[in-house]
Each structure stands twice: as structure tokens, then as C-alpha cells.
């Protein structure tokens, strides 16, 4: 298969970026999108040009490191997968594919397609954890948790923190990420103890870092590689408002 790639190139955080066109040819339909970029970079290195910088790590959809806005979609045109799980057979032979970095004021571009997602780490540090005594391992059934709650918690915990939600949201809002983290802990007895403090601290950090206000468009849910529901945002709203009214 042959493709024309329109890729955002930007030397560093302070330089002005622009789109550059590249041609890739004889690509196997079973090549993954990131492997196709590897092939492109191999060609660029052989030509003595600067390879395209992009984030990646596990390449099996669990680390949340890969990003890329491909043809208008975070993580490409497929539903509920990360960029590393996209294959070239999903594109038409001869197609022009536009590849952009995440666009959000809180995720500044570092180079080419790489953005700084440290803001999400800062939100987690503000309260996305449980404070527990690290003694010996407790008995597995010491705290019974209803199946439905455990399932809901695990659905929220599937969030890989890739940033697709804020990158997709027209308001640059990080609500789906914060909601997933708050919700996964709020549904478990171990997490409930610090529930109010967590919701307030994480929302305050999210606001401080310049993320936008959620307007419930649902675009984040549609583009989330883990299919996290905006119902978790309702829970975050509930947790936060209850905590504020208790103050």
C-alpha cells in the first residue's frame, strides 16, 4: 500500500511548526500505524533528515504513551483502540493521512508529534491515590465488594491517561480523565475514605493547570481508547458538589 502523510513538524516547544508531506510506499496492509512511522523514519535517517518524533512505549494498548490525532480523530479512525493498535489496512490505498499532535493549552508540543502530558501526572499527584498502611498482605475477602461496584470501578480504572479526552474536547477539558480516576476509587471501600478530599484536590489542580470547563458534549467518551463513559463525570460532579456542600 502507498500513502501520502501530512505530518506536523516542529523543531521544539518555542519554534513555529508546519505540516510537511512525506510519501511511504510498499507498506504491508498488516503494518501497524506506528510501524509505518518507523519505516518512514528509517527512510528519513537514510536520507540524512531528522526523523519524526512521536511518543510510544508498550505498543499493545495498555501504557497510554502513544497519542497522535489522525485524520481528525484522537488515536485514529477506529473506536476504542490506541494509536498503536491501528493497522494500515484500515486506510484506503493511496490515501493522504494527516497526523497532528494533541492540541490543548495544557499539553504543549515538545517536538513534532510529542506533547508534554505532565499536567495529568500533576492531577494524579494531587489526590489520585489511596493512603494505606503497608503491612502484610490483607486477606482477599476481608472487605467484601459488590460485583457491580467492582466492575464499575474497573471500567473507570481502564483509563490509561493518554490525554485523548482533553485533546478531543473542544474546551480542552480533562474531566473524563479526572472522573475516571475519582470514580475508580470512589466505588471501592478503600477509596471512599478519602473521597471528598480527593475530588476537591483533583478538580482544584485540574482548574489550576488551565484545563477547560466540561460542557457535556460527549466527544471525550467517543474518542476514548478505553471507552470510558461520561457517567463517571456525573459521579465526579456528585462527589465534588457533595464535598463542597459539606464544607
Amino acid at each position: 500500500m502507498n500513502f501520502t502523510l501530512k505530518i506536523w513538524r516542529q523543531k521544539d516547544a518555542h519554534s513555529k511548526g508546519e505540516f510537511k508531506e512525506y510519501k511511504v510506499s510498499d507498506i504491508s496492509s498488516d503494518t501497524s500505524f506506528l510501524e509505518m512511522l518507523d519505516i518512514l523514519n528509517n527512510d528519513l535517517v537514510h536520507k540524512g533528515e531528522e526523523p519524526v518524533a512521536f511518543d510510544h512505549d508498550c505498543r499493545e494498548g495498555i501504557c497510554g504513551m502513544c497519542s497522535l490525532h489522525i485524520d481528525g480523530h484522537a488515536h485514529g479512525p477506529s473506536q476504542a483502540v490506541t494509536t498503536c493498535q491501528i493497522y494500515m489496512r484500515q486506510f484506503k490505498d493511496g490515501a493522504t493521512i494527516t497526523v497532528e499532535p494533541w492540541r490543548s493549552a495544557a499539553f504543549p508540543v515538545i517536538k513534532d508529534l510529542v506533547v508534554n502530558r505532565g499536567a495529568y501526572d500533576q492531577i494524579l499527584q494531587a489526590g489520585g491515590y489511596v493512603s494505606v498502611r503497608t503491612n502484610s498482605v490483607p486477606d482477599g475477602n476481608a472487605i467484601p465488594i459488590p460485583q457491580a461496584d467492582a466492575e464499575e470501578s474497573m471500567d473507570a480504572a481502564a483509563c490509561v491517561g493518554c490525554g485523548a479526552c482533553a485533546a478531543t474536547c473542544k474546551n480542552g477539558s480533562a474531566m473524563l480523565f479526572v472522573a475516571a480516576r475519582v470514580s475508580s476509587l470512589a466505588k471501592l471501600p478503600q477509596g471512599r475514605v478519602e473521597g471528598a478530599r480527593r475530588a476537591k484536590a483533583m478538580v482544584a489542580k485540574m482548574d489550576e493547570l488551565g484545563f477547560g470547563n466540561c460542557t457535556n458534549t460527549g466527544a471525550c467518551q467517543a474518542e476514548c481508547p478505553k471507552g470510558i463513559s461520561i457517567a463517571h463525570i456525573a459521579r465526579l460532579n456528585r462527589e465534588f458538589l457533595a464535598a463542597k456542600f459539606e464544607d
Partner: protein, 232 residues
């Protein structure tokens, strides 16, 4: 606690939600009141107009309502300004409408501005010829009608085809705005989950549809009546 309504994103959204809910309730009341104009010779409607004339309770109600609109409007601009800033200066070259995302949900400010413009037109057509005239101590408006004769004013306003078109555009913008707004206000206060989200969206469609139809039918029926040259 007072300041989280201004300094927290979720607090600001709560203000939008509560003020929006208040306006939806008012619209339901206003729509129900308008439909009365279709019944009989308009005397029932004029009775309501008389009740809601320049009385202290009607004035307080109007002031609270104006405050509700003002808060909703001011917060909308404030939130949109913050959201544009959060989005950053460089925009995507390629954008798409994501699966399951309503056009209205991404254009609430635009729809809101159309609603406000329609409201200004409506205040000029009705409020300034009714309550304002009474407040000024006059007994007739510039059309020569009594300020409590709302039925005659409806008849006059909707006999002009361009008014009917303008009002229908206004009602359509309101319909789309509420289609998103009604379920969104429940989501913002946290009264939603995976089971209730589809139900709330259905309820929003019903409420917004009812409000649109209730308002539109009055405009259309009075225009149709005006074409009958007094035969009905």
C-alpha cells in the same frame, strides 16, 4: 463555599445548570400560558395577562427572571472564554464530528445568542407594549391597544409573515439549545449514570419538543387565522 461558584469549574457549571433549570421551568409555564390564547375569543388569555400585569408579584417575578437570564448569559460567555483559552492557539487542521455527539452540544453559545436576540425582539413586541406601558401609567400602547389585551397583540404580531418566520427561527434555536441543555443540567449536578443518561436524553427531547411545539403552534395558528380574513 460561596466562592466555589465562581472559582471552580464545577461550581461555575453548577450555576449554569441551576439558572438553566430555572429558565426551562419558566419556558414551560410561558408555553402553557400561550396555548391558552388558542382557546375561545382570547378572554381567558387576557385574564392571565391581567393577573400578570404591573403587580408587585409580577414585577418581582420579572426581575428574578431577568437576573436568571443575565447570570446564565454572563456565565456562558465567561466559560466560553476560558474554554477557548484552554483549547490553545493552534487548532487542528482536520476536525470531525465524533460519533454520537450532537451538533447543538458544540454550539450552545451560538444557539444561546440567537435565543437572546429573539428574546430582545420578543420584549420589543410584547413586554414593551404591555407591562412597560402599564408601568408608565398609560392606558394604551402605540398600537392603540389596552396593555392587558394580550390576545389582540398576539393577533396583530403574528399577522405579519416575517414575524412568524423570525419567531420560528427563534423557537428552533431554543429547541436545539434545550435538546442538549435539559439532560446536561442533570449530568452537571451529578444526577446521571449509564442507565439514566439515555433516559435523560429522551426526556430532554420530549421537553424541548413540547416547548417548541407549544410556542410554534400559537404563531402558526394566528398567522393562519390572519389569512382567513376574519372568517374564523
Amino acid at each position: 463555599m460561596g466562592c466555589f461558584l465562581t472559582n471552580s469549574s464545577l461550581g461555575r457549571k453548577l450555576v449554569m445548570s441551576i439558572s438553566g433549570c430555572f429558565l426551562v421551568l419558566f419556558l414551560l409555564f410561558h408555553m402553557a400560558m400561550n396555548v391558552v390564547a388558542l382557546i375561545g375569543d382570547g378572554s381567558a388569555y387576557n385574564m392571565i395577562c391581567g393577573f400578570l400585569g404591573a403587580n408587585w408579584y409580577a414585577l418581582v417575578g420579572t426581575a428574578v427572571l431577568a437576573l436568571g437570564v443575565l447570570v446564565h448569559f454572563a456565565y456562558a460567555f465567561w466559560l466560553t472564554w476560558q474554554n477557548r483559552k484552554a483549547r490553545g492557539n493552534v487548532r487542528y487542521a482536520v476536525t470531525v464530528t465524533e460519533k454520537g455527539v450532537d451538533w447543538a452540544s458544540k454550539n450552545m453559545l451560538l444557539l444561546g445568542i440567537i435565543v437572546i436576540l429573539g428574546l430582545l425582539l420578543h420584549l420589543t413586541h410584547f413586554w414593551s407594549k404591555m407591562m412597560l406601558v402599564e408601568l408608565m401609567g398609560q392606558h394604551a400602547n402605540d398600537l392603540g391597544l389596552a396593555p392587558t389585551d394580550g390576545a389582540a397583540l398576539i393577533k396583530y404580531t403574528f399577522s405579519k409573515w416575517y414575524n412568524v418566520v423570525l419567531y420560528l427561527v427563534w423557537f428552533a434555536a431554543l429547541w436545539l439549545h434545550l435538546n442538549h441543555g435539559v439532560w446536561s443540567m442533570f449530568q452537571t449536578v451529578g444526577w446521571a449514570n449509564d442507565t439514566w443518561l439515555p433516559r435523560l436524553k429522551c426526556i430532554a427531547k420530549l421537553v424541548s419538543g413540547l416547548i417548541f411545539l407549544g410556542f410554534a403552534v400559537v404563531a402558526v395558528v394566528f398567522y393562519a387565522k390572519s389569512l382567513c380574513c376574519g372568517c374564523c
